[in-house]
Symmetry: C2
Subunit: 163 residues, 2 copies
């Protein structure tokens, strides 16, 4: 779709994306991000601050855990996903999330490079407020081998183009 | 409940909490965290890295947005919630999340001090693997005025006490 190409441009940071408003969105539109590399040091730094568990901060201790090696906090995978969405899903009024449902089919590992593919699932105009609606977006976060690390479905409060 | 008192001790970082395994958990148990203060600089620093939208990084520009002033990224509220859970919900095998459902009834603001109250909703032993089960936990994140900033329901993979 047309906006696909524009979204992929963001990888090269060539031009800002054309802002999209409620009336520009359609079910099935897809937006693909650039690639975001993640190393061991970045995994440990995030986890020390927000999720200091052995399998996220200590490569040696992680070997004897459920993860059998260092794994990123799922909330880091989510935070990076958000960063990539701000770059690749150009909703004019911003990405204002009302709520989200998240699953992690497999852990993010040191050396993974993440990218996102966001797809519009549903568009629901507000009944009481004609200037806005909710757009439901499903985003997959994948690594360089195409393995799905995270699925998140988000309801985004979206406005019509200002008059 | 008994574990309430232990959980609250973590605020003073006096003693490590007694680790809990699948057989120690019961529906209705509650775990309360210490308080985590959040200022404008911390909100902007997180958002610059993971959610660089005007209403999260620019106090002036934020005034003319939906949020009518600087608001923390919901993913920062979630990351802080995770940090507080690692300190206050002492599951022996760690907090291994399979998935989560999140909602933000109102934004987190500069000057808010956050704490969490986690409550065990459901315990489902695995049918095929007798050493483990899933524990569903509902966590509210509240500010210093008792206003709910976030609701998250998480399914946590939990193991029985090692033999």
């Amino acid at each position: 779709m047309a906006n696909d190409i524009k979204a992929r441009d963001s990888a090269d940071q060539v031009a800002p994306l054309r802002p999209l408003y409620l009336e520009d969105l359609a079910v099935g539109q897809e937006f693909t991000s650039r690639s975001y590399p993640l190393d061991e040091a970045a995994i440990i730094a995030f986890a020390r601050q927000y999720d200091p568990q052995p399998f996220h901060i200590d490569p040696e201790a992680a070997k004897d855990t459920f993860f059998q090696g260092l794994a990123a906090s799922g909330w880091q995978t989510m935070a990076i996903t958000m960063r990539l969405l701000t770059e690749s899903l150009p909703i004019g009024s911003g990405l204002i999330g009302a709520g989200a449902e998240i699953g992690w089919p497999q852990p993010t590992r040191p050396g993974d490079a993440l990218h996102t593919v966001a797809r519009v699932l549903e568009i629901t105009p507000s009944r009481s407020k004609p200037d806005r609606g909710f757009v439901t977006v499903h985003t997959q976060t994948l690594n360089q081998r195409g393995e799905v690390l995270q699925n998140v479905t988000t309801r985004i409060l979206t406005f019509r183009r200002p008059a």
